[in-house]
Protein backbone atom coordinates (compact mmCIF):
# COMPACT_ATOMS: atom_id res chain seq x y z
CA UNK A 1 0.00 0.00 0.00
CA UNK A 2 1.39 3.38 -0.88
CA UNK A 3 2.19 5.68 1.96
CA UNK A 4 -0.07 8.68 2.44
CA UNK A 5 1.90 11.79 3.17
CA UNK A 6 -0.77 13.64 5.17
CA UNK A 7 -2.84 11.80 7.75
CA UNK A 8 -4.56 12.28 11.04
CA UNK A 9 -4.89 9.42 13.47
CA UNK A 10 -7.31 10.02 16.27
CA UNK A 11 -8.46 7.75 19.06
CA UNK A 12 -11.16 9.58 20.97
CA UNK A 13 -11.17 7.18 23.91
CA UNK A 14 -8.35 4.70 24.46
CA UNK A 15 -9.61 1.24 25.32
CA UNK A 16 -8.01 -1.14 27.79
CA UNK A 17 -6.32 1.59 29.80
CA UNK A 18 -7.34 2.77 33.26
CA UNK A 19 -9.08 6.13 33.13
CA UNK A 20 -10.02 8.41 30.28
CA UNK A 21 -7.50 9.40 27.69
CA UNK A 22 -7.17 9.76 23.95
CA UNK A 23 -4.60 10.00 21.25
CA UNK A 24 -4.01 12.36 18.32
CA UNK A 25 -1.31 12.08 15.71
CA UNK A 26 -0.79 14.41 12.76
CA UNK A 27 1.36 13.40 9.82
CA UNK A 28 2.36 16.03 7.29
CA UNK A 29 4.48 15.44 4.19
CA UNK A 30 5.42 12.00 5.40
CA UNK A 31 6.72 13.19 8.77
CA UNK A 32 5.07 13.10 12.17
CA UNK A 33 4.10 16.70 12.86
CA UNK A 34 2.40 16.33 16.23
CA UNK A 35 1.58 13.71 18.84
CA UNK A 36 -0.70 14.31 21.77
CA UNK A 37 -1.47 11.76 24.47
CA UNK A 38 -4.61 13.49 25.68
CA UNK A 39 -5.68 13.02 29.24
CA UNK A 40 -9.15 14.47 29.79
CA UNK A 41 -10.11 12.62 32.96
CA UNK A 42 -11.09 15.43 35.33
CA UNK A 43 -8.46 16.57 37.83
CA UNK A 44 -8.99 15.04 41.22
CA UNK A 45 -7.36 17.51 43.62
CA UNK A 46 -5.97 15.06 46.22
CA UNK A 47 -2.95 17.21 47.09
CA UNK A 48 -5.33 20.05 47.91
CA UNK A 49 -7.70 18.24 50.21
CA UNK A 50 -4.88 16.47 52.08
CA UNK A 51 -3.99 19.88 53.51
CA UNK A 52 -5.28 20.26 57.03
CA UNK A 53 -5.83 16.52 57.46
CA UNK A 54 -3.83 14.57 60.01
CA UNK A 55 -0.64 12.84 58.87
CA UNK A 56 -2.17 9.54 60.01
CA UNK A 57 -4.93 9.90 57.43
CA UNK A 58 -2.61 10.05 54.44
CA UNK A 59 -2.54 6.29 53.67
CA UNK A 60 -6.33 6.01 53.72
CA UNK A 61 -6.93 9.16 51.68
CA UNK A 62 -4.22 8.58 49.06
CA UNK A 63 -5.26 4.94 48.61
CA UNK A 64 -8.41 6.35 46.97
CA UNK A 65 -6.36 7.79 44.16
CA UNK A 66 -6.34 4.33 42.56
CA UNK A 67 -8.39 1.16 42.77
CA UNK A 68 -5.74 -1.04 41.17
CA UNK A 69 -2.63 0.26 42.96
CA UNK A 70 -3.82 1.56 46.35
CA UNK A 71 -1.00 -0.25 48.18
CA UNK A 72 1.55 1.81 46.26
CA UNK A 73 -0.04 5.04 47.50
CA UNK A 74 -0.24 3.71 51.04
CA UNK A 75 3.40 2.62 51.02
CA UNK A 76 4.71 5.88 49.58
CA UNK A 77 2.62 7.90 52.04
CA UNK A 78 3.55 5.98 55.20
CA UNK A 79 7.26 5.97 54.33
CA UNK A 80 7.18 9.72 53.62
CA UNK A 81 5.38 10.45 56.90
CA UNK A 82 7.79 8.23 58.82
CA UNK A 83 10.69 10.06 57.18
CA UNK A 84 9.19 13.37 58.30
CA UNK A 85 8.85 12.04 61.86
CA UNK A 86 12.28 10.41 61.99
CA UNK A 87 11.01 6.83 62.28
CA UNK A 88 12.20 3.69 60.48
CA UNK A 89 10.03 0.59 60.30
CA UNK A 90 12.11 -2.57 60.19
CA UNK A 91 11.97 -6.28 60.92
CA UNK A 92 8.77 -8.27 60.37
CA UNK A 93 6.72 -5.12 59.71
CA UNK A 94 9.06 -4.19 56.88
CA UNK A 95 8.72 -7.70 55.47
CA UNK A 96 4.94 -7.58 55.72
CA UNK A 97 4.97 -4.34 53.74
CA UNK A 98 7.02 -6.06 51.05
CA UNK A 99 4.56 -8.96 51.05
CA UNK A 100 1.65 -6.58 50.66
CA UNK A 101 3.39 -5.00 47.68
CA UNK A 102 4.01 -8.48 46.21
CA UNK A 103 0.24 -8.98 46.27
CA UNK A 104 -0.37 -5.74 44.44
CA UNK A 105 2.25 -6.40 41.78
CA UNK A 106 0.86 -9.88 41.14
CA UNK A 107 -2.73 -8.75 40.74
CA UNK A 108 -1.92 -5.61 38.78
CA UNK A 109 0.57 -7.22 36.41
CA UNK A 110 -1.65 -10.28 35.83
CA UNK A 111 -4.61 -8.06 35.03
CA UNK A 112 -2.61 -5.94 32.60
CA UNK A 113 -0.78 -8.76 30.86
CA UNK A 114 -3.82 -10.96 30.27
CA UNK A 115 -6.82 -8.68 30.17
CA UNK A 116 -5.45 -5.42 28.80
CA UNK A 117 -2.37 -6.05 26.67
CA UNK A 118 -2.32 -9.64 25.41
CA UNK A 119 -5.34 -9.00 23.14
CA UNK A 120 -3.20 -6.50 21.19
CA UNK A 121 -0.54 -9.06 20.41
CA UNK A 122 -3.03 -11.71 19.38
CA UNK A 123 -5.25 -9.45 17.29
CA UNK A 124 -8.34 -9.42 19.50
CA UNK A 125 -10.54 -6.43 20.17
CA UNK A 126 -10.79 -7.28 23.87
CA UNK A 127 -10.02 -9.92 26.45
CA UNK A 128 -13.61 -11.10 26.18
CA UNK A 129 -13.12 -11.89 22.50
CA UNK A 130 -9.74 -13.42 23.29
CA UNK A 131 -11.21 -15.59 26.06
CA UNK A 132 -13.27 -17.57 23.53
CA UNK A 133 -10.05 -18.91 21.95
CA UNK A 134 -7.64 -18.69 24.88
CA UNK A 135 -9.85 -19.65 27.82
CA UNK A 136 -7.07 -21.51 29.61
CA UNK A 137 -4.69 -18.57 29.52
CA UNK A 138 -7.35 -16.11 30.63
CA UNK A 139 -8.36 -18.43 33.48
CA UNK A 140 -4.67 -18.74 34.39
CA UNK A 141 -4.31 -14.97 34.54
CA UNK A 142 -7.46 -14.56 36.62
CA UNK A 143 -6.20 -17.22 39.03
CA UNK A 144 -2.94 -15.28 39.43
CA UNK A 145 -4.88 -12.09 40.05
CA UNK A 146 -6.96 -13.89 42.66
CA UNK A 147 -3.80 -14.90 44.54
CA UNK A 148 -2.51 -11.34 44.45
CA UNK A 149 -5.86 -10.13 45.73
CA UNK A 150 -5.78 -12.73 48.50
CA UNK A 151 -2.44 -11.39 49.77
CA UNK A 152 -3.76 -7.82 49.77
CA UNK A 153 -7.00 -8.89 51.49
CA UNK A 154 -5.16 -10.87 54.18
CA UNK A 155 -2.66 -8.14 55.02
CA UNK A 156 -4.63 -5.09 54.06
CA UNK A 157 -8.05 -6.07 55.32
CA UNK A 158 -9.66 -5.98 51.89
CA UNK A 159 -8.67 -6.16 48.22
CA UNK A 160 -9.57 -2.63 47.17
CA UNK A 161 -8.40 0.35 49.25
CA UNK A 162 -6.92 -1.69 52.11
CA UNK A 163 -7.89 -0.56 55.59
CA UNK A 164 -5.19 -2.19 57.70
CA UNK A 165 -2.21 0.01 56.75
CA UNK A 166 -1.14 2.79 59.07
CA UNK A 167 1.82 5.10 59.63
CA UNK A 168 4.18 2.93 61.69
CA UNK A 169 2.94 -0.42 60.40
CA UNK A 170 -0.46 -2.06 60.54
CA UNK A 171 -3.52 -2.05 62.77
CA UNK A 172 -3.32 -5.83 63.00
CA UNK A 173 -0.65 -8.25 61.89
CA UNK A 174 -1.36 -11.86 60.87
CA UNK A 175 -0.44 -14.94 62.83
CA UNK A 176 1.94 -17.45 61.30
CA UNK A 177 -0.97 -19.80 60.71
CA UNK A 178 -2.95 -17.10 58.89
CA UNK A 179 -0.01 -16.26 56.67
CA UNK A 180 0.61 -19.89 55.87
CA UNK A 181 -2.82 -20.10 54.22
CA UNK A 182 -1.14 -18.24 51.35
CA UNK A 183 1.43 -20.97 50.73
CA UNK A 184 -0.74 -23.31 48.66
CA UNK A 185 -2.16 -20.61 46.38
CA UNK A 186 1.32 -19.10 45.99
CA UNK A 187 2.83 -22.42 45.01
CA UNK A 188 0.12 -22.76 42.38
CA UNK A 189 0.76 -19.14 41.39
CA UNK A 190 4.41 -19.95 40.71
CA UNK A 191 3.32 -22.48 38.08
CA UNK A 192 0.73 -20.05 36.77
CA UNK A 193 3.34 -17.29 36.48
CA UNK A 194 5.68 -19.60 34.58
CA UNK A 195 2.80 -20.57 32.30
CA UNK A 196 2.06 -16.87 31.74
CA UNK A 197 5.66 -16.19 30.72
CA UNK A 198 5.70 -19.25 28.46
CA UNK A 199 2.56 -17.94 26.75
CA UNK A 200 3.65 -14.34 26.18
CA UNK A 201 7.21 -15.10 25.12
CA UNK A 202 6.01 -16.41 21.75
CA UNK A 203 4.02 -13.28 20.87
CA UNK A 204 5.21 -11.24 17.92
CA UNK A 205 6.90 -8.06 19.08
CA UNK A 206 7.45 -4.97 16.92
CA UNK A 207 11.11 -4.25 16.33
CA UNK A 208 11.42 -0.95 18.20
CA UNK A 209 13.88 0.32 20.77
CA UNK A 210 14.67 3.66 22.31
CA UNK A 211 17.64 4.83 24.30
CA UNK A 212 15.62 5.79 27.39
CA UNK A 213 17.02 7.28 30.52
CA UNK A 214 15.69 4.68 32.95
CA UNK A 215 14.78 5.85 36.46
CA UNK A 216 13.95 3.49 39.32
CA UNK A 217 14.77 2.64 42.90
CA UNK A 218 17.87 0.61 43.63
CA UNK A 219 18.51 -1.16 46.91
CA UNK A 220 21.82 -2.63 48.07
CA UNK A 221 20.44 -6.17 48.17
CA UNK A 222 16.84 -6.41 47.00
CA UNK A 223 14.71 -5.99 43.92
CA UNK A 224 13.14 -2.73 45.01
CA UNK A 225 9.75 -2.01 46.54
CA UNK A 226 9.85 0.54 49.35
CA UNK A 227 13.47 1.45 49.87
CA UNK A 228 16.55 2.49 48.01
CA UNK A 229 18.10 5.38 46.20
CA UNK A 230 16.52 6.83 43.07
CA UNK A 231 18.96 5.95 40.29
CA UNK A 232 19.08 6.43 36.55
CA UNK A 233 20.84 4.73 33.66
CA UNK A 234 22.78 7.97 33.17
CA UNK A 235 24.36 7.92 36.59
CA UNK A 236 21.89 9.75 38.82
CA UNK A 237 21.80 8.46 42.39
CA UNK A 238 19.80 10.46 44.92
CA UNK A 239 17.59 10.00 47.96
CA UNK A 240 13.85 10.60 47.51
CA UNK A 241 14.21 13.90 49.41
CA UNK A 242 16.19 15.31 46.46
CA UNK A 243 13.71 14.21 43.78
CA UNK A 244 12.35 17.73 43.13
CA UNK A 245 15.86 19.10 42.61
CA UNK A 246 16.24 16.86 39.57
CA UNK A 247 12.70 16.40 38.27
CA UNK A 248 9.85 18.77 37.52
CA UNK A 249 6.18 18.60 36.62
CA UNK A 250 4.86 20.70 33.75
CA UNK A 251 1.39 21.43 32.51
CA UNK A 252 0.75 20.62 28.85
CA UNK A 253 -2.43 22.14 27.50
CA UNK A 254 -3.74 18.87 26.13
CA UNK A 255 -3.48 17.01 29.41
CA UNK A 256 -5.28 17.27 32.73
CA UNK A 257 -2.31 15.49 34.25
CA UNK A 258 0.94 17.28 34.98
CA UNK A 259 3.75 15.81 32.88
CA UNK A 260 6.95 14.72 34.55
CA UNK A 261 10.32 15.72 33.13
CA UNK A 262 13.97 15.61 34.19
CA UNK A 263 15.93 18.83 34.45
CA UNK A 264 18.56 18.88 31.70
CA UNK A 265 20.63 22.05 32.10
CA UNK A 266 23.80 20.44 30.75
CA UNK A 267 22.20 19.27 27.52
CA UNK A 268 19.83 22.11 26.86
CA UNK A 269 20.65 25.08 29.05
CA UNK A 270 18.86 26.50 32.08
CA UNK A 271 15.24 25.44 32.27
CA UNK A 272 15.67 22.64 29.76
CA UNK A 273 13.94 19.38 30.50
CA UNK A 274 13.86 15.94 28.96
CA UNK A 275 11.80 12.78 29.16
CA UNK A 276 12.69 9.73 31.18
CA UNK A 277 11.16 6.32 31.77
CA UNK A 278 9.90 4.72 34.96
CA UNK A 279 8.18 1.36 35.29
CA UNK A 280 8.96 -2.31 34.75
CA UNK A 281 11.52 -1.79 31.93
CA UNK A 282 13.42 0.76 34.02
CA UNK A 283 13.19 -1.26 37.21
CA UNK A 284 14.25 -4.47 35.46
CA UNK A 285 17.10 -2.87 33.51
CA UNK A 286 18.50 -1.15 36.60
CA UNK A 287 18.03 -4.13 38.92
CA UNK A 288 18.41 -7.32 36.87
CA UNK A 289 21.20 -8.42 39.18
CA UNK A 290 18.81 -8.21 42.14
CA UNK A 291 16.47 -10.86 40.70
CA UNK A 292 17.00 -14.40 41.95
CA UNK A 293 19.08 -16.65 39.65
CA UNK A 294 15.98 -18.70 38.81
CA UNK A 295 14.03 -15.61 37.73
CA UNK A 296 17.03 -14.29 35.79
CA UNK A 297 17.11 -17.60 33.92
CA UNK A 298 13.38 -17.45 33.27
CA UNK A 299 13.89 -13.99 31.80
CA UNK A 300 16.69 -15.25 29.56
CA UNK A 301 14.56 -18.21 28.49
CA UNK A 302 11.91 -15.69 27.47
CA UNK A 303 14.43 -13.93 25.23
CA UNK A 304 15.26 -11.02 27.52
CA UNK A 305 18.74 -9.76 28.30
CA UNK A 306 19.75 -7.87 31.44
CA UNK A 307 18.58 -4.59 29.85
CA UNK A 308 15.35 -4.15 27.92
CA UNK A 309 14.77 -1.12 25.67
CA UNK A 310 11.85 -2.36 23.60
CA UNK A 311 8.67 -1.03 25.26
CA UNK A 312 6.64 -3.80 23.60
CA UNK A 313 8.63 -6.24 25.73
CA UNK A 314 6.98 -4.65 28.75
CA UNK A 315 4.49 -7.54 28.72
CA UNK A 316 7.43 -9.95 29.08
CA UNK A 317 9.03 -7.92 31.85
CA UNK A 318 5.75 -7.72 33.77
CA UNK A 319 5.42 -11.49 33.48
CA UNK A 320 8.98 -11.90 34.83
CA UNK A 321 8.19 -9.50 37.70
CA UNK A 322 5.01 -11.47 38.46
CA UNK A 323 7.10 -14.63 38.80
CA UNK A 324 9.61 -12.82 40.99
CA UNK A 325 6.84 -11.37 43.21
CA UNK A 326 5.35 -14.85 43.73
CA UNK A 327 8.74 -16.22 44.77
CA UNK A 328 9.44 -13.23 47.01
CA UNK A 329 6.03 -13.71 48.66
CA UNK A 330 6.82 -17.37 49.33
CA UNK A 331 10.16 -16.40 50.84
CA UNK A 332 8.58 -13.83 53.16
CA UNK A 333 5.81 -16.20 54.25
CA UNK A 334 8.29 -18.99 54.99
CA UNK A 335 10.49 -16.75 57.14
CA UNK A 336 7.74 -14.84 58.92
CA UNK A 337 7.75 -14.40 62.68
CA UNK A 338 5.02 -12.14 64.05
CA UNK A 339 6.25 -8.78 65.33
CA UNK A 340 6.00 -7.79 68.98
CA UNK A 341 3.50 -5.07 68.04
CA UNK A 342 1.54 -4.34 64.86
CA UNK A 343 3.08 -0.88 64.54
CA UNK A 344 5.82 1.33 65.90
CA UNK A 345 4.84 4.50 67.65
CA UNK A 346 5.15 7.56 65.43
CA UNK A 347 4.94 10.98 67.06
CA UNK A 348 4.42 13.91 64.71
CA UNK A 349 6.92 16.71 64.48
CA UNK A 350 7.17 19.71 62.22
CA UNK A 351 9.13 18.85 59.13
CA UNK A 352 9.19 17.49 55.63
CA UNK A 353 9.42 13.88 54.54
CA UNK A 354 9.69 12.29 51.11
CA UNK A 355 9.52 8.74 49.85
CA UNK A 356 9.69 6.88 46.56
CA UNK A 357 8.32 3.38 46.20
CA UNK A 358 7.88 1.17 43.15
CA UNK A 359 4.23 0.98 42.14
CA UNK A 360 3.48 -1.69 39.51
CA UNK A 361 3.70 1.08 36.87
CA UNK A 362 6.87 2.61 38.25
CA UNK A 363 8.29 5.14 40.67
CA UNK A 364 5.70 6.82 42.89
CA UNK A 365 6.96 9.81 44.85
CA UNK A 366 5.25 11.41 47.85
CA UNK A 367 6.47 14.46 49.73
CA UNK A 368 4.68 16.00 52.73
CA UNK A 369 5.28 18.92 55.02
CA UNK A 370 3.61 18.48 58.37
CA UNK A 371 3.13 20.80 61.31
CA UNK A 372 4.04 20.04 64.92
CA UNK A 373 0.45 18.99 65.62
CA UNK A 374 0.60 16.40 62.81
CA UNK A 375 -1.58 18.29 60.35
CA UNK A 376 -0.53 18.17 56.72
CA UNK A 377 0.57 21.60 55.51
CA UNK A 378 1.53 20.64 51.99
CA UNK A 379 1.51 17.51 49.82
CA UNK A 380 3.11 16.51 46.54
CA UNK A 381 2.31 13.25 44.79
CA UNK A 382 4.01 12.27 41.54
CA UNK A 383 2.62 9.07 40.01
CA UNK A 384 4.45 6.98 37.41
CA UNK A 385 1.98 7.64 34.60
CA UNK A 386 2.50 11.39 35.02
CA UNK A 387 6.23 10.82 34.72
CA UNK A 388 5.87 8.67 31.60
CA UNK A 389 3.65 10.95 29.53
CA UNK A 390 6.54 12.53 27.63
CA UNK A 391 8.01 9.09 26.97
CA UNK A 392 4.70 7.85 25.63
CA UNK A 393 4.53 10.73 23.19
CA UNK A 394 8.17 10.36 22.17
CA UNK A 395 7.67 6.63 21.60
CA UNK A 396 4.83 7.43 19.25
CA UNK A 397 6.82 10.09 17.37
CA UNK A 398 9.53 7.55 16.61
CA UNK A 399 7.31 4.52 16.21
CA UNK A 400 4.97 5.92 13.58
CA UNK A 401 7.22 7.31 10.88
CA UNK A 402 8.74 3.99 9.68
CA UNK A 403 5.22 2.54 9.59
CA UNK A 404 3.39 5.07 7.45
CA UNK A 405 2.81 2.43 4.78
CA UNK A 406 0.27 0.80 7.12
CA UNK A 407 -3.41 1.57 6.64
CA UNK A 408 -5.11 3.81 9.19
CA UNK A 409 -6.82 0.99 11.08
CA UNK A 410 -3.64 -1.02 11.53
CA UNK A 411 -1.50 1.99 12.39
CA UNK A 412 -4.09 3.21 14.91
CA UNK A 413 -4.20 -0.21 16.52
CA UNK A 414 -0.42 -0.30 16.85
CA UNK A 415 -0.36 3.22 18.30
CA UNK A 416 -2.89 2.19 20.92
CA UNK A 417 -0.82 -0.91 21.61
CA UNK A 418 2.21 1.34 22.05
CA UNK A 419 0.35 3.41 24.65
CA UNK A 420 -0.75 0.24 26.43
CA UNK A 421 2.92 -0.77 26.71
CA UNK A 422 2.94 1.61 29.66
CA UNK A 423 -0.17 0.22 31.37
CA UNK A 424 -1.12 3.87 31.98
CA UNK A 425 -3.16 4.67 35.04
CA UNK A 426 -4.85 7.88 34.01
CA UNK A 427 -6.84 8.31 37.22
CA UNK A 428 -3.56 8.34 39.13
CA UNK A 429 -2.06 10.87 36.73
CA UNK A 430 -4.92 13.34 37.20
CA UNK A 431 -4.72 13.44 40.97
CA UNK A 432 -4.00 17.15 40.90
CA UNK A 433 -4.07 20.14 38.62
CA UNK A 434 -3.82 23.74 39.69
CA UNK A 435 -6.57 25.59 37.83
CA UNK A 436 -6.14 29.24 36.93
CA UNK A 437 -9.08 31.09 35.46
CA UNK A 438 -8.20 33.74 32.93
CA UNK A 439 -10.95 36.34 32.62
CA UNK A 440 -11.59 38.38 29.48
Amino acid sequence: MSERKNRNIKVAMLARVEGEGGLEVRVRNGRVADVKFRIFEPPRLFEAFLRGRQFTEAPDITARICGICPVAYQMSSVHAMEAACGVTVDGPLRELRRLLYCGEWIESHALHVVMLHAPDFLGYESAIHMAKDHAGQVANGLALKKTGNAIVALLGGREIHPINVRVGGFYRTPTKRELRTLVEPLERAREQALALLTWVKVFEFPDFERDYEFVALRHPQEYPFNEGQIVSSLGLEIPAAEYERHFVEEHAQHSNALQGAKRAPVEGGPGAVKSYLVGPLARYSLNFDRLTPAVQQAARDAGLGPVCRNPFHGILVRSVETLWAVEEALRIVAAYEPPAAPAVQVEPRAGTGASATEAPRGLLVHRYRIEADGSIADAKIIPPTSQNQKSIEEDLWRFIEPRLELDDATLTWQCEQAVRNYDPCISCATHFLKLRRVEG
Binding site: R16, C66, G67, I68, A127, H129, A139, L142
Partner: protein, 128 residues
Protein backbone atom coordinates in the same frame (compact mmCIF):
# COMPACT_ATOMS: atom_id res chain seq x y z
CA UNK B 1 -31.68 -4.26 53.23
CA UNK B 2 -31.63 -7.36 51.03
CA UNK B 3 -29.50 -9.13 53.61
CA UNK B 4 -32.14 -8.46 56.28
CA UNK B 5 -34.95 -9.63 54.02
CA UNK B 6 -33.27 -12.81 52.80
CA UNK B 7 -31.08 -14.02 55.67
CA UNK B 8 -30.39 -16.93 56.15
CA UNK B 9 -31.74 -18.18 52.85
CA UNK B 10 -29.32 -16.37 50.59
CA UNK B 11 -25.71 -15.18 50.68
CA UNK B 12 -25.50 -11.43 50.18
CA UNK B 13 -22.15 -9.91 49.24
CA UNK B 14 -20.92 -6.41 48.53
CA UNK B 15 -18.44 -6.85 45.73
CA UNK B 16 -15.98 -4.00 45.22
CA UNK B 17 -13.25 -5.92 43.44
CA UNK B 18 -14.37 -5.44 39.88
CA UNK B 19 -15.05 -7.96 37.17
CA UNK B 20 -12.70 -10.66 38.33
CA UNK B 21 -14.05 -10.57 41.87
CA UNK B 22 -17.56 -11.21 40.54
CA UNK B 23 -16.44 -14.35 38.73
CA UNK B 24 -14.92 -15.65 41.95
CA UNK B 25 -17.91 -14.67 44.06
CA UNK B 26 -20.54 -16.50 42.01
CA UNK B 27 -18.56 -19.69 41.37
CA UNK B 28 -20.68 -22.73 42.16
CA UNK B 29 -23.86 -20.76 42.82
CA UNK B 30 -26.94 -21.89 40.84
CA UNK B 31 -28.87 -18.61 41.17
CA UNK B 32 -27.19 -15.21 41.24
CA UNK B 33 -28.68 -11.74 41.34
CA UNK B 34 -26.41 -8.73 40.84
CA UNK B 35 -27.35 -5.13 41.50
CA UNK B 36 -25.42 -2.28 39.93
CA UNK B 37 -25.80 1.35 38.97
CA UNK B 38 -26.87 2.03 35.40
CA UNK B 39 -26.39 5.00 33.13
CA UNK B 40 -28.65 4.80 30.08
CA UNK B 41 -30.30 8.19 30.03
CA UNK B 42 -33.50 6.89 31.59
CA UNK B 43 -35.09 8.74 34.47
CA UNK B 44 -33.13 8.56 37.70
CA UNK B 45 -34.42 5.76 39.87
CA UNK B 46 -35.55 3.56 36.98
CA UNK B 47 -35.15 -0.09 37.93
CA UNK B 48 -34.47 -2.52 35.14
CA UNK B 49 -34.28 -6.31 35.29
CA UNK B 50 -32.09 -8.16 32.78
CA UNK B 51 -31.73 -11.93 32.41
CA UNK B 52 -28.05 -12.27 31.59
CA UNK B 53 -28.24 -16.05 31.34
CA UNK B 54 -30.39 -15.71 28.23
CA UNK B 55 -28.80 -12.82 26.34
CA UNK B 56 -25.60 -10.76 26.24
CA UNK B 57 -25.33 -7.80 28.56
CA UNK B 58 -24.65 -4.57 26.68
CA UNK B 59 -21.63 -2.74 28.08
CA UNK B 60 -23.16 0.69 27.48
CA UNK B 61 -25.87 0.01 30.08
CA UNK B 62 -23.43 0.06 32.98
CA UNK B 63 -20.79 2.64 33.72
CA UNK B 64 -17.26 1.26 33.28
CA UNK B 65 -15.18 0.81 36.37
CA UNK B 66 -11.51 1.47 36.82
CA UNK B 67 -9.62 -0.43 34.11
CA UNK B 68 -12.81 -0.65 32.10
CA UNK B 69 -13.80 -4.09 33.40
CA UNK B 70 -17.23 -3.48 34.80
CA UNK B 71 -20.29 -5.63 35.27
CA UNK B 72 -21.06 -6.17 31.59
CA UNK B 73 -17.48 -7.15 30.87
CA UNK B 74 -17.52 -9.55 33.83
CA UNK B 75 -20.68 -11.23 32.59
CA UNK B 76 -19.44 -11.58 29.01
CA UNK B 77 -16.03 -12.78 30.21
CA UNK B 78 -17.74 -15.43 32.32
CA UNK B 79 -19.85 -16.42 29.32
CA UNK B 80 -16.70 -16.83 27.19
CA UNK B 81 -15.04 -18.91 29.89
CA UNK B 82 -18.12 -21.06 30.55
CA UNK B 83 -18.35 -19.67 34.08
CA UNK B 84 -21.80 -18.09 33.94
CA UNK B 85 -24.16 -19.24 36.70
CA UNK B 86 -27.19 -21.23 35.44
CA UNK B 87 -29.37 -18.31 36.44
CA UNK B 88 -27.95 -14.78 36.42
CA UNK B 89 -30.28 -11.83 36.82
CA UNK B 90 -29.08 -8.24 36.83
CA UNK B 91 -30.99 -5.42 38.48
CA UNK B 92 -29.82 -2.07 37.21
CA UNK B 93 -30.73 1.13 39.03
CA UNK B 94 -30.49 4.29 36.94
CA UNK B 95 -28.32 6.90 38.58
CA UNK B 96 -28.42 10.62 38.04
CA UNK B 97 -25.17 12.05 39.37
CA UNK B 98 -21.95 10.03 39.36
CA UNK B 99 -19.80 12.88 40.61
CA UNK B 100 -18.15 13.26 43.97
CA UNK B 101 -20.43 13.01 46.98
CA UNK B 102 -21.73 10.74 49.67
CA UNK B 103 -25.52 10.77 49.33
CA UNK B 104 -27.89 9.02 46.99
CA UNK B 105 -30.40 11.19 45.20
CA UNK B 106 -33.99 10.78 46.41
CA UNK B 107 -35.20 8.86 43.31
CA UNK B 108 -32.28 6.47 43.62
CA UNK B 109 -32.91 5.97 47.33
CA UNK B 110 -36.47 4.97 46.51
CA UNK B 111 -35.29 2.76 43.69
CA UNK B 112 -32.89 0.96 46.02
CA UNK B 113 -35.79 0.05 48.31
CA UNK B 114 -37.89 -1.01 45.35
CA UNK B 115 -35.12 -3.18 43.93
CA UNK B 116 -34.48 -4.80 47.31
CA UNK B 117 -38.14 -5.83 47.58
CA UNK B 118 -38.23 -7.11 43.99
CA UNK B 119 -35.07 -9.16 44.49
CA UNK B 120 -36.30 -10.63 47.75
CA UNK B 121 -39.66 -11.56 46.25
CA UNK B 122 -37.95 -13.13 43.25
CA UNK B 123 -35.50 -15.17 45.26
CA UNK B 124 -38.04 -16.29 47.84
CA UNK B 125 -40.45 -17.32 45.09
CA UNK B 126 -37.64 -19.20 43.38
CA UNK B 127 -36.80 -21.10 46.57
CA UNK B 128 -40.44 -22.08 46.94
Amino acid sequence: MVRALLWPRARVLECAGGATALLEAWQGEPVVVVVDAMSTGSAAGTVRRLDASREPLRAELFRGSSHGLGLAEAVELARSLGQLPPSLVIYGIEGTDFGLGTRLSYPVECAVREAALLISEELLADRN
